[in-house]
């Protein structure tokens, strides 16, 4: 499987500001002091090799949308946040006129996870088949509601694609176009569901908008089983541990520390921090990543856990 991140920000999309760009350029020029570059290519190589990721890149600002490629003709995607707009453009370009078949898996229907759908190009293309999977009874209602007047000019019923809603039972494994998918209930306002995808001997877990109560041992054990041995776990690490268990308790999100501890217990290979706090700039997310890797090092048992921070445009082989 190959996983491609189209949206990684939590709660609301954000964009780099002109001040952010100015500061990045100024800092990069300052760090390059005394050097001269014979070509743009040379400067590019220097930037990639010597400057921080947060100076040369951005984690991006689209809300959740994560594509899973399994080598087949159909598309698989988790959530329809604002990242669904560029994902839709990618689908249309790749199909070049041929109708697409898209399997969507919804964690829940909070706005940041559905807001990209009215801008998902393939939904306007006749012949496209979209199957929206989820465990909520309110799934279809939420998709129709956000396109109802006076909030959006095109009603859901006017979309050209053939759209079906498929209810999945949590805790059970379902076969969807050759991929095994298991949803698991999570603690979040209005409930949310994580998904475990298995294909070709590999496993990928998408678990966002999920709060973990440390005192609830049964819940911890259930998640350790859900994550067990996964190759990649995409995890809601929106808050610091201190915030998650005090001022932001019951806000429905988790922390980098809990992500590491659960993945260590579950013998996961690769943890990907996800649903980044919209108030964090690139440097902050990069330092959270650095600290999370350090925490893993301090608490490492027999085997190391690889840790990344998701960014819009990241592609991972699973």
């Amino acid at each position: 499987m190959r996983v491609r991140f189209w949206g990684t920000r939590g709660s609301i999309p954000v964009a780099l500001t002109s001040a952010d760009i100015r500061d990045k350029v100024a800092e990069a020029l300052y760090r390059a002091q005394g050097r001269s570059f014979a070509s743009v290519g040379e400067a590019y190589d220097y930037a990639v090799a010597h400057l921080d990721f947060s100076l040369t890149h951005t984690f991006g600002g689209h809300s959740p949308c994560v594509e899973i490629e399994n080598g087949g003709d159909e598309y698989f995607v988790c959530d329809m946040g604002s990242g669904a707009r560029p994902f839709g453009a990618h689908v249309l370009a790749r199909q070049s006129g041929r109708p697409a078949s898209v399997n969507v898996f919804m964690s829940h229907v909070h706005w940041d996870h559905i807001m990209g759908f009215p801008f998902f190009g393939p939904a306007y293309a006749a012949g496209t088949r979209i199957r929206i999977h989820g465990c909520h009874d309110t799934l279809e209602h939420a998709f129709r509601l956000q396109q109802a007047p006076p909030c959006f000019p095109v009603e859901f019923s006017q979309l050209a694609a053939q759209i079906e809603f498929v209810k999945l039972a949590p805790g059970r494994s379902h076969e969807v176009s050759g991929v095994q998918v298991t949803p698991a209930p999570q603690m979040h306002s209005g409930d949310s569901y994580g998904y475990r995808f298995e294909h070709g001997g590999k496993s990928f877990v998408y678990t966002t908008d999920s709060e973990h109560k440390l005192e609830n041992r049964a819940q911890t054990d259930r998640f350790v089983r859900f994550f067990h041995g996964a190759d990649v776990v995409v995890f809601d690490a929106m808050y610091s541990l201190a915030d998650a268990i005090s001022v932001k308790a019951d806000w429905g999100h988790s922390s980098n520390i809990i992500g590491v501890e659960l993945c260590q217990m579950a013998r996961v290979k690769h943890l990907v921090l996800f649903h980044h706090e919209p108030a964090y700039d690139d440097a902050t997310i990069e330092s959270v990543l650095r600290e999370t890797r350090r925490f893993e090092e301090l608490t490492r048992g027999a085997r190391a856990l690889q840790i990344s921070a998701a960014y819009d445009g990241l592609e991972l082989d699973v």
């Binding site: 440390l214 610091s240 541990l241 201190a242 915030d243 268990i245 005090s246 600290e291 925490f295 608490t299």
Partner: protein, 124 residues
């Protein structure tokens, strides 16, 4: 986990040791409870002397958070002293440095709480 304790004037110094994690954090909370009650009754501040604490997991950090909340609710105060480097790093990464005032040595913590407590410490 044995919870050693000493009183210096108006400050109780408690010294948990070993590892504080999922397996023993409830026992630690039970040991801590009478000291929290006593600190409310006798208007004592609490210094957690962490020199003997080797490791703390999220479950252990939660115990510290609950204790801090209770102290705040009863108008008393908990501060931290003498963390080992690993525990100090974990506090930082979990942002617990924003929840607790931490001091390099027990004496520094006592001095910050009250001159009388520091003087009592100096007398031994």
């Amino acid at each position: 986990m044995p919870l050693a304790h000493r009183l210096y004037d108006s400050a109780l110094v408690l010294a948990p040791s070993g590892r504080l994690d999922h397996d023993n954090c409830e026992a630690f909370r039970e040991e801590l409870a009478p000291f929290l009650e006593r600190s409310a009754k006798e208007r004592l501040a609490i210094v957690l002397d962490l020199a003997g604490l080797e490791y703390v997991s999220s479950a252990g950090l939660r115990c510290f958070m609950l204790a801090a909340k209770q102290a705040k609710a009863q108008n008393s105060r908990i501060v931290i002293a003498a963390m080992q480097p690993v525990v100090s790093e974990i506090f930082q990464i979990a942002r617990f440095n924003l929840v607790f005032d931490a001091f390099p040595k027990v004496r520094d913590a006592l001095a910050a709480l009250s001159p009388a407590a520091a003087a009592a410490f100096d007398r031994g």
